[in-house]
């Protein structure tokens, strides 16, 4: 059933129809989330107003893991079933994931300085997220490292799958080892340890970021498809010119 969307024109139509359904709710949720995060949520009893950094830091961290997971799954689908859209989706997702990871690291650092007393430490959580950032960069570099784009695609897909081992390590790093980073607050066995007045803006931003990712992924996939088409056409024209 999915196979039929491998048809570029059909995918293009579907993506164009779907994009506003992601983009508009994303915009609305992020604006509303920002309003709650900055104006209409309380300061924390320990951390004061710096807790507001959480509303961008934590969703960015979720997205860093979510996008990587989607990239690893697409890569596996691409390698196993050779579905033409799979590698394309991984390729389109990588820069988005890298941006989320970068934002996560940067906002974390800006939160760490006033609260922990340091911009950076080499604990298991921070180090494994930094490795995730390098995995994204490595994936993008590897994809362009070969003359034959198919070889690049395959090599990058293998890296994405190998690197997936880092995702559970990031998630559980705070439970498995002593870290400076605090343990999970939201996704944990005993339920969230965040007051509802803070959980609401957090979820708004989280869903907003997810939809932003969806819209951007479709847009970037469309671009990649167009680029592939342009490549094919200019090749054909070159051949034609050579023949003439």
């Amino acid at each position: 059933m999915i196979q039929q969307y491998a048809n570029p024109a059909r995918f293009n139509r579907l993506a164009t129809t779907l994009m506003p359904w992601f983009a508009w709710p994303a915009g609305i949720l992020i604006v509303a989330g920002l309003y709650f995060a900055l104006f209409n949520s309380p300061p924390d009893y320990q951390q004061g107003d710096t807790v507001r950094i959480m509303y961008v830091h934590v969703p960015a961290a979720w997205m860093a893991l979510f996008v990587y997971t989607s990239m690893a799954i697409s890569s596996a689908v691409g390698l196993i079933w050779k579905h033409p859209l799979a590698h394309l989706s991984a390729q389109a997702a990588a820069p988005i994931g890298a941006c989320f990871t970068f934002v996560c690291l940067l906002t974390g650092s800006l939160w760490g300085k006033p609260m922990w007393g340091t911009w950076w430490v080499w604990d298991a959580r921070l180090t494994s997220v930094l490795i995730l950032f390098f995995l994204y960069l490595g994936f993008m570099a590897l994809q362009n490292a070969f003359d034959d784009p198919r070889r690049g695609e395959r090599s990058a897909a293998i890296l994405a799958i190998i690197g997936f081992i880092n995702v559970p390590i990031i998630k559980f790093s705070v439970d498995w080892w002593n870290t400076l980073h605090q343990p999970a607050s939201v996704v944990k066995m005993s339920g969230p340890a965040i007051h509802s007045s803070m959980l609401i803006p957090l979820f708004m931003m989280g869903v907003g970021f997810t939809l932003y990712f969806g819209a951007l992924l479709l847009l970037r996939m469309k671009t990649l498809m167009l680029a592939r088409r342009a490549r094919g056409m200019s090749m054909a024209q070159l051949h034609q010119q050579a023949a003439e």
């Binding site: 309380p42 300061p43 924390d44 009893y45 320990q46 951390q47 004061g48 807790v51 959480m54 596996a76 390698l79 196993i80 079933w81 006033p114 609260m115 922990w116 007393g117 340091t118 430490v121 080499w122 604990d123 298991a124 799958i161 190998i162 997936f164 081992i165 390590i169 498995w176 080892w177 002593n178 870290t179 400076l180 605090q182 343990p183 999970a184 607050s185 944990k188 340890a193 965040i194 007051h195 007045s197 803070m198």
Partner: protein
């Protein structure tokens, strides 16, 4: 077996092998990956060197924080509720440094068993709430303190 199945098995087996290898490596390196030792580690493990910097983490024991007067030296006790270690530190402490809260100090263990810290980092827990809620919880006696939890 089709080629698809073969590729799938290859990837699944590869990931499993990788997972086991990663688990073994991470377990073997556990001592290197932990960010800090607990006071119990310091008290029971012999291999902690006195001549190089290590990190010790735990809770600041209630009622032990002596704020600096003139010589700017903070003194407090870090506890994991089994063992204590007394710390002295000259410098600026983070804003959320509080008694009963988590802390990680970097420094050297002195021969007399005290710990001379060069850096103090505050470690906060996973709870977030407005100040009024924290007050109300404390008043109603529902407050679960980090020390009582363990």
């Amino acid at each position: 077996m089709t080629r698809k199945q073969r590729r799938m098995n290859f990837i699944v087996l590869g990931l499993l092998t990788l997972g086991v290898a990663a688990a073994l490596v991470l377990t073997a390196l556990e001592d290197k990956i932990v960010f800090f030792y607990s006071p119990t580690d310091i008290a029971t493990k012999k291999q902690i060197p006195t001549n190089q910097q290590v990190r010790v983490g735990g809770l600041v024991k209630e009622g032990t924080w002596k704020k600096p007067n003139n010589n700017l030296t903070h003194r407090f006790t870090v506890t994991d509720l089994r063992h204590d270690i007394s710390i002295s530190y000259k410098g600026i402490i983070p804003d959320i440094f509080r008694e009963g809260q988590g802390v990680v100090v970097l420094g050297k263990l002195q021969p007399d068993g005290n710990f001379q810290a060069d850096e103090v980092l505050a470690k906060h827990d996973e709870k977030y709430m407005p100040p009024e809620v924290a007050e109300a919880l404390k008043k109603s006696g529902k407050w679960k303190h980090a020390e009582e939890k363990k």
